[in-house]
């Protein structure tokens, strides 16, 4: 295949470059009606228009030249940039725990992709060591890039593959697993792995970053160090999410995989444990448990891998005036399980009743969760709730809607028997349903109030 000399350019801009024989990475002198410009021609992002040529000028800045103003152009040199994170061999240190980092994609370590202008991941131990040399003081690292998909493209196939790979690593005697993952669906994967990998003797830590590692203030390096510390030195042998506690570079939280949720589109401290308190805090010095009822690390290899998933499962987010045909359409499309995120204590409106009855009659498994995220379903309180239960909707206590979705998929991957489905769904595997909600589980304070502002001034958020 011939080399692409005009990366990303199309239409007018491409014609112009071809006409004057100027390549991407070529040094160019361009005459325009606005004066002369000099610099290195850079690739153009594929989604940008075809009316500009991107130039890196001598001072390091990028500028765009309007093709309509160009009167002449000349290539005076050529130097292709070699963009890579310096790769150094990851040092092996006697006595440090063995960690396997499994790559799924995401932005833990990354570099720029000129075609899209976005960042793409880089992931070998050598590259990681080049970027975060402190990791060598924490563990002996090996990596496996299982797949390179963006977080939103993670799904059942990937969950199963991950579970099986982790089972194999445990069999081989690894001390801890870290999974690099985009943050958007990090909690979905955490829930799936909690169900698919049961009785793990070692920590399984999912980690991502909210600021890609191409930024000096990225949370990636610290998150990685925290995750490696939790996986290699921590005593908690569960599937956990490890991300920033406060937005400050201070400590990370370990969240139980079934109770964690991304709560802000861009904050570093976006992951929160919902309806409970986090498992532990983690710094480079080690893991400090907050909850005492965790599953401790063991020496055996008695893990149970259960890689099942039924894909015909969905979540319906209820809103006022929802029409019954929404439910009907799902049933007709062959969906076998529906998680409803209902209002308040777990409600939907009356006009949906016939559709619910129809779905139930067709054997669709329906579970009720709450849109409020915090709190339990309580379907005995109002008639509506009692009606719904009579029509086949099973309340799922305080299971988070996304966790319930993952669990129903996993359950239906094993059985279709209504009683068995109900039993599995309502038997917690790792706190997806809790018996108690601690009084300090729900803490959403409002700024502007004197005592809250005083707290925020004193304690790093």
């Amino acid at each position: 295949m011939s080399e692409d000399f005009f990366q990303g350019y199309k239409g007018e801009a491409l014609d112009l470059l071809k006409k004057y024989q100027v390549r991407v990475w070529g040094q160019a002198e361009i005459q325009t009606t606005r004066g002369d410009f000099k610099g290195t021609v850079l690739p153009r992002s594929e989604n940008d228009d075809d009316k500009h040529i991107v130039l890196k000028i001598i001072t390091g800045y990028n500028i765009g030249i309007d093709t309509g103003t160009v009167t002449g152009m000349k290539e005076t040199g050529y130097k292709k940039a070699n963009y890579q994170i310096p790769e150094k061999e990851f040092p092996i240190t006697e006595g440090l725990p063995k960690i396997k980092l499994l790559g799924t994609g995401g932005t833990i370590a990354s570099r720029l992709d000129y075609r899209t202008g976005a960042v793409i991941p880089a992931f070998t131990p050598g590259e990681l060591y080049g970027a975060v040399p402190e990791l060598a003081d924490i563990c002996n690292l090996t990596t496996d890039k299982l797949f390179a998909v963006f977080s939103e493209n993670m799904g059942p196939e990937q969950y199963k593959k991950l579970a099986i790979s982790i089972g194999e690593e445990i069999e081989k005697g690894i001390d801890g697993i870290v999974i690099g993952h985009g943050t958007d669906t990090l909690s979905h994967t955490a829930a799936a792995l909690t169900f698919m990998i049961q009785n793990s003797p070692i920590p399984i830590v999912l980690v991502g970053s909210q600021r890609s590692s191409d930024r000096p203030s990225s949370d990636a390096a610290l998150n990685l160090m925290h995750a490696m510390t939790a996986a290699g030195h921590g005593d908690i042998a569960e599937v956990m999410v490890c991300m920033f506690g406060p937005t400050s570079d201070e400590y990370g939280f370990l969240h139980r995989g079934t109770r964690v949720r991304k709560m802000h589109s861009s904050y570093r401290s976006t992951f929160r444990t919902i309806g409970d308190i986090p498992l532990a805090t983690v710094t480079r010095k080690g893991v400090v448990p907050i909850k005492q009822d965790y599953k401790p690390r063991r020496k055996d290899k008695q893990v149970k891998i259960m890689p099942y998933f039924e894909e015909k499962v969905t979540i319906v987010y209820y809103y006022p005036n929802m029409q019954p045909d929404v439910i009907d359409a799902l049933v007709d499309a062959g969906y076998k399980g529906i998680i409803i995120a209902g209002t308040g204590l777990g409600h939907i409106n009356k006009p949906l009743y016939p559709a619910i009855e129809r779905a139930h009659a067709k054997g669709v498994h329906m579970f009720m969760t709450v849109q409020t995220l915090w709190g339990y379903t309580h379907m005995f309180v109002y008639d509506t709730g009692r009606d719904l239960m009579a029509k086949g909707i099973i309340p799922a206590a305080n299971m988070l809607p996304e966790t319930a979705y993952i669990k129903l998929g996993w359950t239906l991957g094993q059985t279709n028997d209504p009683e068995e489905v109900k039993r599995i769904m309502l038997t917690p595997i790792n706190d997806e349903i809790t018996e108690r909600e601690p009084y300090n589980g729900y803490l959403i304070y409002q700024g502007g109030v004197k005592e809250v502002d005083e707290f925020v001034r004193k304690v790093h958020k």
Binding site: D48, K51, T59, G60, I63, G64, P216, S217, S218
Partner: protein, 665 residues
């Protein structure tokens, strides 16, 4: 190590300092001529920063231009900065150095001026168009070639002055020109950028910033190094500042305009003096920096003559025990009590170098000390050496140290102390700076002081720290947009600026005058009706502005009414000062007859005689009521009684003379 009186005089550092100062041919700036600068190859360029006058910040909707005290904050956020790779796959030198310093950066936030964007918890909003348009206008005035598309770029700053670790910045134009008295100075580029945090403190491993200024729109005009003496640098700087200000669309006042000055000497290196707060500091700073470089080249020459293969030069060090010495020096006592480490270093061949002149009042050893503060986070004083003017290391101390280090007679020794974990970096820093002395002038940025000297701030960052901003899309600048902005441009702003200055109009009025485009009115009225432009400029720039801020504008008011008003007063032969009282009324009721306006301010036309004839009566009255009968008091009192009546009818100065005369009669 106790303060002692020098017993033997092996080596006199003070004499060495003076001797080397002469060798460098240093002269104070007042005595310097163009030849002085030509001889050492003075070369300088500028980066002039100017805040733009916008309502909001550049990439978020926080208000711009509100500031708060360092202790007035609502929350704190902590960040650490790590170097990343540039787009071209390289780490930047500064980045690596900053990483070495391992600073904990604390940001103090105030709700009013800071949102989640400033602390990098929200991606940027689209660029502030108001700011972008002002930047384009100033680029056009600076005769720059305007880019076809604005690309937001991230420029890394690992000192923590921006919580993201980079500044979002973009080029608006390249290759322009400004005219000075005797020559044209070429411009490299003009960029728009977000302003950084203001530093509150920097002690040890903690640096504290506040975020009020962070994100405010700023432009940076960069010149080629075309200036060949310190005065030219200041002239160019003033020109750029005036040009920016003449648009009336930039901020003025403390910190609104700041300069970075690049200086080099023949055979030297581009050194950047950062954040010069006052233009008037520029000549002294550039003068001294050029000579500092010249001195460093002299040092290189001396060192190279001592070491044939200077790449093999190595220093040696040994850890000391505090108990080996009798310690009276206070900082060392503190270090001992806090369990710090003490290290002695031998610098082969550096005798006579440590006390070598670099700047007025500074020697080479200060170059090492400055770096220890920044790179190894050791607060000053952080070292002692064998060529201090007031020695603290005694001969007795040296008897212990020298053999331990295998020191020779041509060597210099220094002692450094600090926390154990910082010692590795400290030793590396000392060795690095000494090795640089063999190479000449290190590339660095320096912090300026009012006395014209500078200290090391950071390693000079290169183009490697630039990175495209993946959070922002490019913004096309079409010919239509540029043509439209060109239309509104004043054609000869700088000439107008200079004209106002020449007339003696107060500088505080300029922004208002340019913003409202009132220059042509001042110019026309003063010429047409022979009114002093100084008086008119101040009247419009101060009184008109005040009136606009305090009264409601009546329908039909426009600035031409000012002309009608002044013509009316002139024709009636009234004192022009009446305009001050009439303007508020006229502004609110622009259609009112001018005579009626006079009535409304209770003005009564009086002949001069009518006023002055009361003087005798008043003088008598004063005699009967006064406590102290001085002439001065008498005049003052009479003036007080008559001034209201005189207002508009006769000048007070004139009245004063008449009163004075009448009393003495």
């Amino acid at each position: 190590m106790y303060n002692y009186q020098k017993m033997e005089n092996h080596f006199d550092p003070r004499a060495n300092y003076e001797k080397t100062k002469k060798e460098v041919s240093y002269v104070p700036r007042k005595e310097a001529t163009q030849k002085t600068y030509d001889d050492i190859g003075f070369m300088s360029g500028l980066e002039v920063h100017q805040q733009l006058l916008t309502d909001k910040k550049l990439f978020c909707n926080c208000p711009a231009g509100r500031f708060h005290d360092s202790d007035d904050y609502d929350a704190e956020v902590i960040r650490h900065m790590r170097p990343t790779l540039s787009e071209l796959g390289e780490y930047d030198g500064t980045a690596l150095m900053e990483f070495k310093t391992r600073k904990e950066i604390v940001y103090r936030l105030k709700h009013q001026t800071t949102c989640t964007y400033e602390v990098d918890d929200t991606p940027p909003f689209p660029i502030n168009r108001q700011a972008l348009d002002i930047a384009i206008e100033i680029s056009l005035l600076s005769k720059l070639n305007i880019v076809g598309e604005v690309h937001i770029t991230r420029k890394q700053y690992l000192d923590g002055s921006i919580p993201t670790g980079f500044q979002r910045t973009a080029i608006i134009g390249v290759e322009g020109e400004i005219p000075l008295k005797n020559k044209n100075v070429r411009l490299i580029q003009l960029s728009i950028e977000e302003d950084s945090c203001r530093e509150i403190s920097d002690i040890g491993h903690t640096r504290v910033y506040k975020t009020d200024r962070l994100g405010m729109p700023l432009i940076e005009t960069v010149t080629y190094p075309d200036m060949v003496n310190p005065d030219e640098v200041m002239e160019a700087c003033n020109y750029i500042r005036f040009l920016n200000r003449s648009t009336g669309k930039v901020r003025v006042g403390m910190g609104a305009g700041r300069e970075d000055v690049n200086v080099s000497c023949k055979g030297g290196t581009r050194v950047e003096i950062k954040g010069v707060a006052h233009t008037k500091w520029i000549p002294e700073l550039t003068h001294n920096e050029c000579f500092r470089q010249w001195a460093l080249l002299k040092i290189r020459e001396k060192l190279q003559s001592k070491f044939a293969d200077y790449k093999a030069w190595e220093m040696s060090h040994g850890f000391l025990d505090f108990d080996m010495f009798e310690i009276t020096y206070e900082p060392l006592k503190v270090a001992k009590d806090s369990g710090e480490k003490l290290v002695a270093v031998n610098l082969p061949g550096f005798k006579g170098i440590m006390s070598h002149f670099t700047q007025p009042g500074k020697m080479f050893a200060d170059e090492i000390s400055d770096r220890l503060k920044v790179v190894a986070c050791l607060e000053k004083p952080n070292l002692l050496h064998t060529e201090q003017f007031e020695p603290i290391i005694t001969d007795l101390d040296l008897d212990i140290i020298a053999p331990m280090l295998n020191a020779g007679p041509d060597d210099a020794q220094l002692i450094v102390w600090g926390p154990e974990e910082d010692m590795k970096t400290a030793l590396e820093t000392i060795e690095e700076r000494c090795k640089m002395a063999f190479e000449g002038v290190p590339e660095e940025t320096r912090k300026s002081f009012e006395n014209g000297t500078t200290i090391f701030e950071r390693v000079l960052p290169g183009a490697d720290r630039m990175y495209p901003d993946t959070d922002s899309a490019p913004i096309p600048l079409t010919n239509e947009v540029i043509d439209e902005l060109s239309k509104g441009l004043p054609t000869d702003v700088v000439a107008r600026y200079n004209q106002l200055k020449e007339w003696g109009v107060a500088e505080s009025t300029y922004n208002y005058i340019f913003k409202r485009n009132l220059f042509p009115i001042i110019d026309t009225i003063s010429k047409k009706h022979k009114i002093s432009p100084k008086w008119l400029g101040n009247f419009i720039g101060h009184r008109m502005k005040w009136v606009e801020g305090h009264f409601e504008k009546g329908e039909g008011f426009n600035y031409e009414i000012i002309e009608d008003l002044l013509v009316f007063l002139k024709k009636k032969n009234y004192n022009l000062k009446l305009a001050y009282k009439m303007l508020p009324v006229l502004y609110h009721y622009p259609k009112m007859e001018l005579e009626s306006v006079l009535t409304s301010i209770k003005f009564k036309e009086r002949q001069q005689d009518e006023i002055t004839e009361k003087i005798d009566f008043l003088s008598e009255k004063f005699s009967s009521i006064c406590y102290s009968d001085s002439t001065e008091n008498r005049i003052d009192w009479i003036m007080g009684q008559l001034s209201r009546m005189a207002y508009g009818n006769m000048g007070l100065e004139n009245l004063y003379q008449v009163v004075k005369q009448k009393i003495s009669e």
